[in-house]
């Protein structure tokens, strides 16, 4: 229980750091803390391969990509949060989200549900067990994700192709 509480505190602190950070860099670093805490939690839940994948893919690849974009777009700038244009939207968002979170958390904690009490299988959580499922009964999902990743890569290329002359014009909101 004690390790779980420590990890939960780190994860929640990281999550709050993400949404309260003034600069996107601070948010990105808080998100790294959140992700690493969750990775250790995966280890405690005997999902070894996913813990490693979480560190490599999230903390490694995705966050580095985020930090690249953050430094590309916000280097040396101190921009405050723009004023909100919808009346009271932030308050309503906070109230509803906190309500949903509290209700879900209370339901989860008070309804433990039934559990399997036999010993866990020997390949539970290893890349062996995961691979047997991914290349066996769940092969369709793996192919779907593969096609989606390929589509995303092509989409990024299409989005970043060099603009034509006529489309490059002065920056500004008036531009139609």
């Amino acid at each position: 229980m004690i390790p779980f509480i420590i990890l939960a505190v780190i994860a929640i602190a990281g999550a709050l750091g993400v949404i309260l950070g003034r600069q996107p860099v601070h948010s990105a670093l808080a998100l790294v803390g959140n992700i690493l805490a969750l990775a250790v939690l995966y280890l405690l839940l005997s999902a070894e391969f996913l813990a490693v994948a979480q560190v490599i893919v999230y903390a490694g690849a995705i966050m580095v990509l985020f930090l690249f974009v953050v430094t590309l777009l916000t280097a040396g700038k101190e921009e405050g949060e723009p004023p909100e244009e919808l009346g009271g939207q932030r308050w309503w968002a906070g109230i509803f989200a906190v309500g949903v979170g509290v209700v879900l958390a209370i339901l989860a904690v008070t309804h433990p549900g039934s559990a399997v009490n036999t010993g866990i299988p020997s390949n539970f959580g290893t890349i062996d067990g995961l691979g047997h499922l991914l290349w066996g009964s769940d092969f369709l999902y793996l192919m779907a994700v593969a096609i989606m990743l390929l589509t995303a890569a092509v989409g990024v290329l299409v989005l970043n192709r060099p603009m034509k002359k006529s489309r490059v014009s002065r920056p500004g909101r008036e531009e139609a």
Binding site: P3, A15, F66, V70, T74, A108, P112, A115, L130, A152
Partner: protein
């Protein structure tokens, strides 16, 4: 042995915090990180249920979530960078001009 239901509760709390970030912040980068956090909390719930039922299907789902999140980050950051190059402001309302 960690109590599984507390882990699911933690996932719910992180999900709610991420939802606040998506709805209340205006910086597209921070909104995007909050959305990543919501993906992550869903993966945490899947892994907790997988541990509870001793079934690897939940872990397969979490693995697919990681793959989906990678695709989403690639395309989302490309959109943010493209919009920033045209508008030079980091404000989510700039993307409202992408209608049609």
């Amino acid at each position: 042995m960690i109590p599984i239901n507390w882990v699911v509760g933690l996932a719910a709390i992180i999900f709610a915090i991420g939802a606040i970030g998506v709805m209340a912040r205006r910086n597209p980068l921070i909104m995007f990180m909050s959305a990543e956090m919501m993906w992550n909390s869903a993966a945490l719930a899947f892994i907790a249920f997988a541990r509870q039922w001793h079934s690897m299907s939940g872990q397969v789902m979490a693995f697919l979530i990681v793959g989906t999140a990678a695709a989403e980050v690639g395309i989302g950051l490309a959109i943010i960078v493209t919009v920033y190059h045209r508008r030079h402001r980091l404000d989510i309302d700039e993307i409202s001009g992408m209608k049609g």
